[in-house]
Symmetry: C3
Subunit: 159 residues, 3 copies
């Protein structure tokens, strides 16, 4: 029983650590901390983007942590981004884990007085690796289920 | 103290199991796994939909697991759905529990080249039952606070 | 080891209690329970609203729990609100804690047959205090990254 309790405790700690990794990705993206965002990945990671979720071939593919720099740097084109995370389901297998995480990734662009909001509805399909420094992304697939682009309505602060 | 710690541990495990049930409902809905979605409910479950949250009478009412088949099957009308889960608050009472969970349920339809996005803002008011096979939905009320339907803007994949 | 396990257990309990506080704020706001919402704050709390997140000066500033009454009362202007919570990251420091929490705060207004949806994308930057009655907000900063206001599309209940 003690060992089971201890295992359940460790599983809960691992799930918390992995969810914190997922949320750190969003935080670093939205705060434009590309270095911090890259540090969440293993050296030999893969980032795969699927704009057609029915395809077996990714629309974009990046191999190795260094290759992520321009991807995360591209976020600087936006006035603001909000990587809004919903549910995560995480399956632990020792020093590896897999997960599905929902994200509504909001991207705001503004040109003169015209603003636009692009929302990408993403399911991240992740492979996590336990490293000596903690859990890291070994592979992150972005399944983009749909994208909505529309004018951003007028700011009407309440109060 | 040991017993308190053990209780707290078990409560945390129960909350995690129930949240996983809530997230499994969304996963099965979005992946069109109607069988998996039905298996999350007890045999004699109830599913109640309130389009008017001020009414005491549900707009739609389904009794028993078998009655859920056409409800979940109806999701096949959509090109894509995203049941995006936010916060859940769960109250445990032994082998029963209740909860309030927020969901923005996104439904995409596409006819020729015209696409539409319908978002239902739902609060699920749930009654959970602990069964020998794990926690299940005994009753699920869908409180639909508002619905937004609009054209889905053009897909403009970045990069 | 026992002491570490106990600490980890207590940290998890504290994170759960604080997340429940964050979710209670949303629940009380959306159910128009201004008294319940005020009770989540310390006597000498501060609520600061930043409509310009690059400014060092808040757009609105409220000091002390009593000052919050009109703020929360103002929600009665809306037909419905949905304070939809995403991720929270919480850092514990004994009897204090800090956190960043994502919220898409939806506000529905209806005049005759015309309805409008205003969405405020908020990052709450919080300071939490452990009181004899449990965790409370000592300071809550609302960083409003963007606001979108648009007509609310027609209600088309499915089924």
């Amino acid at each position: 029983m003690l060992s089971n309790t201890s295992d359940a405790r460790e599983d809960a700690d691992d799930r918390h650590a992995i969810r914190s990794l997922i949320d750190a990705y969003a935080h670093c993206a939205d705060r434009r901390d590309a270095g911090g965002q890259m540090a969440l990945f293993t050296d030999d990671c893969r980032l795969l983007v699927f704009f057609d979720v029915r395809s077996t071939e990714p629309s974009q593919s990046y191999q190795g942590r260094a290759a992520l720099a321009p991807v995360f740097d591209a976020l600087n084109a936006y006035e603001a981004t909000t990587h809004f995370n919903g549910q995560s389901s995480i399956s632990l297998r020792g020093d590896q884990a897999t997960g599905e995480s929902y994200c509504l990734a909001h991207h705001v662009t503004r040109k003169s007085d015209k603003a636009e909001l692009m929302v990408a509805s993403i399911r991240y399909l992740d492979e996590f690796i336990r490293t000596p420094a903690g859990w890291r992304f070994g592979e992150r697939k972005l399944m983009v289920d749909w994208i909505d682009t529309r004018p951003l309505g007028p700011q009407q602060p309440q109060g």
